[in-house]
């Protein structure tokens, strides 16, 4: 039953993606600014003919509904069009950049969870203790601090002053690595390449912290408050009255219920990770999709933005589907 429901939900992604495609298409074209003008408008020696040629090449000379039709017709066949500036298929560019972005997002997710879960639990169990106060103060800071600023501070301390970690990039030049997935840390492990693992991990640390900090803070706060709520419920008192060990009460009985709101937030944070990626990738010279999207938005490179937003939307929908599936395991009363 659950499998059928999951399949149904996956099929429901199709109309959602269709909707996203149309919304992005229209949003990009409603935004003032003309891609051809941005590309050529300030270069010297541009003839009217050249401008017209580019417009024709990008289909910008056609009415909006025809453009939309052409875009959707191609998209259904998996062709997202060609990048205006890079002169390569958008799907190729996304495939080239996506592994770096996923690697960074996973790194941030890892940092976020490793930091937030223990802090959230301990803060709740030992409410108003020093650990709780420090943890929540840290969380407050983490939520308030913009990721680019944190990134620059970390870079100044660990890269410029202490010189422990590299400033930017994904791997040192000269370190040989056979790419399998395009995620360097994973590839290093898969190919058993220790030098590459050290190099790629050291490049991943600071960006992951910058990107994961806000998430860690948010999740820690949510987990703490839901734990506090759960710990006051009768069944927890009952569990304690039965004489269960406190750690079992907290981790087995309380945490499981407290995780439901927490996982919801983690699912939503995937969106924040994807968005924050754009900034952190720029700060750390991380050659990911986010940076490409930012540049493409400013340059009004419609096909690339459309393609990338569809990828983001897909990841986001899938992450939330996973959250919903997880609910059913955590609380059998919930059905898909």
């Amino acid at each position: 039953m659950r499998t059928v429901k999951i399949l149904e939900r996956i099929l429901a992604v199709i109309p959602i993606m269709f909707g996203v495609a149309i919304v992005v298409f229209l949003f990009m074209r409603m935004t003032p600014g003309d891609p051809v003008d941005i590309m050529m408008g300030e270069a010297g020696y541009v003839s009217e003919g050249e401008i017209e040629n580019l417009r024709r090449e990008f289909n910008l000379d056609k009415p909006l509904h025809i453009q939309l039709y052409l875009f959707l017709a191609d998209a259904i066949r998996g062709d997202l069009g060609n990048s205006y500036a890079r002169r390569a298929p958008v799907s190729e560019l996304i495939a080239e950049r996506l592994p770096a972005t996923i690697e960074l997002a996973l790194g941030a997710l890892f940092v976020g969870l490793v930091v937030s879960v223990p802090i959230g639990i301990i803060s709740a169990v030992k409410q108003y203790s020093a650990i709780d106060r420090i943890g929540m103060a840290g969380a407050f800071l983490g939520v308030s601090m913009p990721s680019f600023w944190l990134g620059i501070l970390l870079m100044l301390l660990f890269s410029v002053r202490l010189q422990w970690l590299p400033v930017a990039g994904r791997i040192d030049y000269g370190v040989e690595l056979r790419t399998v997935t395009g995620m360097y840390v994973l590839d290093s492990i898969l190919t058993g390449n220790k030098a590459a693992l050290i190099s790629s991990l050291s490049h991943l640390v600071l960006p992951s912290i910058s990107l994961g900090a806000a998430m860690a803070a948010t999740v820690a706060r949510i987990l703490r408050s839901s734990m506090l709520e759960v710990l006051r419920q009768d069944y927890v008192t009952l569990a304690r009255a039965k004489g269960l060990v406190e750690s079992l009460v907290v981790l087995k009985h309380a945490l499981r219920n407290a995780l439901i709101p927490t996982i919801t937030v983690v699912g939503l944070q995937v969106g924040v990770l994807l968005g924050g990626n754009m900034i952190v990738e720029t700060v750390f010279g991380w050659p990911g999709l986010g940076r490409l999207v930012v540049q493409s938005i400013f340059a009004r490179h419609f096909p690339l933005v459309q393609g990338a937003v569809m990828v983001y939307a897909f990841v986001f929908v899938m992450a939330n589907l996973m959250v919903d599936v997880l609910y059913t395991y955590l609380n059998p009363k919930i059905t898909l």
């Binding site: 429901a12 959602i16 949003f27 935004t31 003032p32 600014g33 003309d34 003008d37 941005i38 590309m39 050529m40 408008g41 300030e42 270069a43 010297g44 020696y45 541009v46 050249e50 580019l54 090449e57 060609n82 500036a85 890079r86 002169r87 080239e96 950049r97 680019f148 100044l156 890269s159 410029v160 400033v167 930017a168 990039g169 030049y173 939503l268 969106g271 994807l274 968005g275 754009m278 900034i279 720029t282 700060v283 010279g285 050659p287 940076r291 490409l292 930012v294 540049q295 938005i297 400013f298 937003v309 983001y312 939307a313 986001f316 929908v317 939330n320 959250v323 919903d324 609910y327 919930i334």
Partner: protein, 569 residues
């Protein structure tokens, strides 16, 4: 059903989030220029009789890996398929052209041994012999013809779908190329093209045989040129690695040292964020960085292992005023603005004095800048006098000039990079009783159409002039509006003078240099007198390098040419 509603709303949020977040970090590509420091190494040699002999060793040292932090991404490695300066910087370290430009803007022969203008519309180039591509093939007239045909023929580039080279416009009137013999080619023009040599600098030669064998897609993955460095590996969004081409013919004869490059390897890394580039330089991860923001110069200047280099850019800055609406439809008011603004002080305080004050519409380094024009100069009394003539006085003594009960107020639009200079300017106008305020636009693409439609009042900005010639530059800013296209490409002031239009049109095709000077001088004088802008300054390009980088200069055209550079240690 828990998720569906949320899915829909989060999707919309995700899309909006993308748009909003993108508003935070716009990287701006810029251009560069340099100083030539020579470091003296002291070698101590000991013999029996003479206790100490000191031998200073000055000169090129081979070896080393140069890492360069670029401020923007590279678009392609196909020399025919891009239009931005960052890509040109990378490509021209791997590819050479018939001619090149020195860092101070002179055009020099590179692959060509001679260039002769035969009859006004025909250029003949004799190629150097013994030039080889990175794959060992000889460079001949065939390759030159192939290169230019690919650029000037419609839809000649087949990947990813057939399109015309975006570099065609750079050599507009070149109509056809003819092979005279193995080492001689002729370029036929459809009309006289006085700026031909300046523009040919931007076309690099590719090997015909190899190109036809691998196609555009294959070429981008493994480019082969005849430049000082050959491609090793890399991806466009991350970094490009190239190494010394040992069989390099030497480059332009007039740009010493002639011969293979000294560096073993050059790595171009993309670091779009300025503070990251500065950090990477301080941490020793990169050796040269592009576009150092002026507020970071003091940080770098105190670091002994780093050297800040600057030189004139090609982007003169002005405050353009909308001449078609009050208050700037009155030439007296516009002149008053020129007297009211102290460009020298803004330059000193905001840009650390790195730049020169300009007198008129062209950069003083433009080959056709009128040397007789003098900056209006700061003269607040004269400004107030002119304003009073135009009817602007402080009649109610509230500290602001007014006319018919309305105070003199306007908004200066800027892009984020020009915010400090615009604020300085607005402050100076405030002191004179003009209520000028600054509005920063995060997304220039939104602002630009408004300005072209004459819907804004004033704009502090700049405009590139990388060919050192008024063609393509003067026309964009001061030629009157073209029917149906707003104010043309960049005439934000809406300035229109039929005589100036005439002069600009004549200058574009005038072959006689003296006559061209006369035409452009007259045009500049007219723009100067009618002052559609406050003429501000030509800011410097600021870059920085490790102290060990030698013989590197900030080039006026913004390129980073690594052929002549070496490390002192």
């Amino acid at each position: 059903m828990i998720g569906n509603k949320r899915l829909a709303s989060t999707l919309v949020t995700a899309v909006i989030l993308l748009m909003v977040i993108a508003a935070c970090a716009p990287p701006a590509p810029e251009v560069v220029e340099v100083t030539v420091p020579v470091e003296v190494e002291v070698e101590v040699e000991t013999t029996v009789e003479v206790p100490v002999t000191v031998t200073p060793v000055v000169g090129p040292q081979p070896g080393g890996t140069m890492v360069i932090g670029l401020s923007a991404e590279i678009m392609t490695l196909d020399p025919a398929d891009y239009r931005d300066t960052t890509t040109e910087t990378v490509i021209r370290n791997m590819f050479d052209g018939l001619v090149t430009r020195s860092s101070d803007g002179r055009v020099l022969l590179q692959l060509a041994e001679s260039a002769t203008l035969i009859d006004g519309v025909t250029w003949e180039f004799v190629l150097k012999k013994g030039v080889t591509f990175h794959n060992g093939e000889d460079l001949t007239a065939e390759d030159v013809k192939f290169t230019f045909d690919r650029i000037i023929t419609e839809n000649a580039i087949e990947y990813p779908e057939p399109h015309t080279s975006p570099r065609k416009g750079l050599i507009g009137p070149v109509e056809s190329v003819e092979i005279v013999d193995d080492y001689t080619v002729r370029l036929y023009l459809s009309a006289p093209f006085p700026a031909a040599m300046q523009m040919l600098v931007h076309q690099q030669i590719v090997p015909k045989d190899y190109f036809e064998q691998v196609g555009t897609e294959g070429f981008i993955e493994a480019p082969v040129g005849c430049g000082p460095f050959k491609f090793v590996e890399g991806s466009l969004g991350d970094q490009i690695v190239m190494e010394r081409f040992d069989d390099y013919y030497g480059g332009a004869d007039e740009l010493p040292p002639v011969g293979p490059p000294l560096l073993d390897r050059v790595i171009f890394r993309i670091l779009p964020e300025a503070s990251t580039r500065v950090s990477a330089l301080r941490a020793g991860e990169v050796n040269i960085i592009q576009s150092v923001p002026s507020h970071m110069i003091p940080v770098l200047a105190t670091n002994a292992s780093v050297r800040v280099a600057s030189g004139p850019s090609t982007r003169p800055a002005w405050m353009e005023m909308n001449v078609n609406q009050p208050p700037f439809d009155d030439v007296r008011v516009r002149l008053a603005m020129n007297y009211a603004v102290d460009a020298e002080t803004i330059l000193d305080t905001v840009l650390g004095g790195l730049g020169v004050v300009i007198a008129g519409p062209l950069s003083p380094y433009n080959n056709f800048a009128d040397p007789t024009l003098e900056p209006y100069g700061y003269d607040p009394d004269k400004a107030l006098e002119l304003l009073a003539e135009a009817g602007w006085t402080d009649s109610d003594e509230d500290g602001f000039l007014d006319q018919d009960g309305e105070i003199f107020t306007f908004v200066i639009d800027v892009r984020p990079t020009s915010k400090p200079r615009a604020e300085g300017l607005a402050g100076q106008l405030q002191e004179l009783g003009i209520d000028a305020t600054v509005r920063v636009w995060g997304d220039y693409s939104v602002l630009k159409p408004l300005m072209l439609d004459g819907e804004r009042t004033a704009y502090v900005g700049d405009w590139g002039d990388s060919a050192f010639d008024p063609v393509g530059h003067f026309e964009a800013k001061w030629h009157s509006r073209v029917e149906g296209t707003g104010n043309g490409r960049g005439n934000f002031s809406g300035y229109s003078n039929p005589r100036v239009d005439e002069l600009v049109a004549a200058g574009e095709i005038e072959a006689d240099v003296e006559r061209r000077h006369e035409l452009y001088n007259e045009a500049q004088q007219l723009v100067y007198e009618e002052a559609p802008a406050v003429f501000l300054f030509l800011p410097d390009i600021v870059e920085a390098s490790s102290a060990s980088v030698q013989n590197w200069t900030v080039a006026a055209d913004g390129r980073l040419n690594m052929h002549d550079v070496w490390f002192s240690e």
